[in-house]
Assembly symmetry: C2
Homo-oligomer: 253 residues x 2
């Protein structure tokens, strides 16, 4: 939590530079070799946890704001960020309201505003990330998805909605370009899907369906050196991959 002096300075700056009533929260999923995590911040003093977020500059497109916030917290640039939902219940910022309301008069107090928050999710390789806390937090760290502490405000709901959306998106949108090496085997790709979905998939169905999406190229080379029959290597067909990101997979309806 900020001191009264810090809060006052922050509010002057915020009212001058940011759009009122709107915030952005980012759910950053991290994947590496079969493990999924989510990026969380720990609040100064209270030690409570929340998702990385921020505000929109008065003249900034919202996608740029989301990218700027993500870059500040992770060091990552040009990551695919997916807008997934606006959370707009009038009581969602009540905890902030109560925390800050006695520290400054309402007219000067940015945090006694009602905020709608736009949720974005990203999926990155957590080894590429340098987590950096913001001015409200003491740490920014990866947390195992099945062991997330209770989050402030409605951030538990935001995280759950992001994960549900990501799992649904797997059905009509490609994923994995920034998570897989340039060439990979089908079981390696299947492992990514199984980790996100948190369940085992049938090997034959997975392969048939993935190939049907038309976003994979099979290499002429097989992977060498294993004890088993050498598996085929695949890479993403980036043209089809990018088209499917926008239009969804072909061959659905």
């Amino acid at each position: 939590m900020l001191t009264k002096k810090e809060l006052k300075e922050y509010c002057i700056d915020a009212r001058e530079n940011y759009l009122a009533h709107i915030s952005i929260d980012c759910v950053v999923f991290g994947f590496h070799e079969g493990t999924m995590k989510v990026l969380v911040l720990q609040m100064k003093d209270e030690g409570e946890w929340y998702l990385p977020g921020g505000f929109v500059l008065k003249n900034e497109p919202i996608e740029m704001a989301a990218n700027r916030i993500l870059k500040e917290r992770t060091g990552l640039d040009e990551i695919f960020l997916q807008q997934f939902h606006v959370f707009g219940h009038p009581d969602r910022s009540k905890e902030h309201f109560d925390m800050y309301k006695d520290m400054l008069p309402e007219k000067e107090n940015w945090f006694t505003n009602r905020f709608l928050t736009i949720g974005y999710y990203a999926l990155v390789d957590f080894c590429d990330v340098n987590p950096a806390p913001d001015q409200f937090s003491t740490s920014c760290a990866w947390c195992d998805l099945n062991n997330v502490p209770p989050l402030k405000l409605d951030h538990t709901l935001i995280l759950k909605t992001a994960l549900d959306t990501l799992r649904v998106h797997l059905n009509y949108q490609p994923i994995g370009y920034n998570l897989m090496p340039g060439e990979f085997t089908m079981p390696e790709l299947q492992k990514l899907y199984e980790t996100i979905l948190d369940k085992k998939l049938d090997r034959r169905n997975f392969q048939r369906r993935m190939l049907g999406f038309g976003i994979l190229k099979r290499s002429e080379q097989l992977r060498k050196g294993g004890a088993h029959k050498a598996p085929y290597l695949y890479s993403f067909d980036l043209e089809n991959y990018r088209a499917a990101l926008i239009e969804g997979f072909k061959g659905s309806w």
Copy 2:
């Protein structure tokens, strides 16, 4: 367009009652017997077209605001409205800004604010709707989807995004409960999908896939009176239908 006096009164009311910087726009798709339309408003004087929309009351949940706006324009209550995207480019309201900026000083002028708009879509039977214009418009009417005039602001983009999203949603979410009679044949349901997708579907694949979703109940009765073999009648299994609205269809990944 409003007169200066009307604008002044509107702005006083708006600043007192609504959240700044946020609006809602509704894409209301109308379906009836194989025809798709979209609901548009025609602006006073200028005669230009735009989508029905409005603002969020200072203490109103956004889903309630969307429902209120939809009810005011259509007379319909409790319609399934799907939030689909926030449009947040800083220049998106520039046309309104230019139109109203000389009529009132900036501090009093609601329409020289930057607005982010939250897009919602609905799909209704257009025979159930009583279109009603708002105070900025002379008419509210159905327009054929393949013959929509250029819309104000970014409303053409909002309409296109809504239609793209609806078509993608067909792959993992049920549709049609408020559009089909209580009992219907498989070809009647297929017609709904074909109209939304604007393409023919294969009869066998459609039936196999629809039944696979587990949201249909087959009646013991066949439809009588036709010249052909009597077709099976189906109805929606509302429990599974509602679950699939929230969780997506089973049996995807």
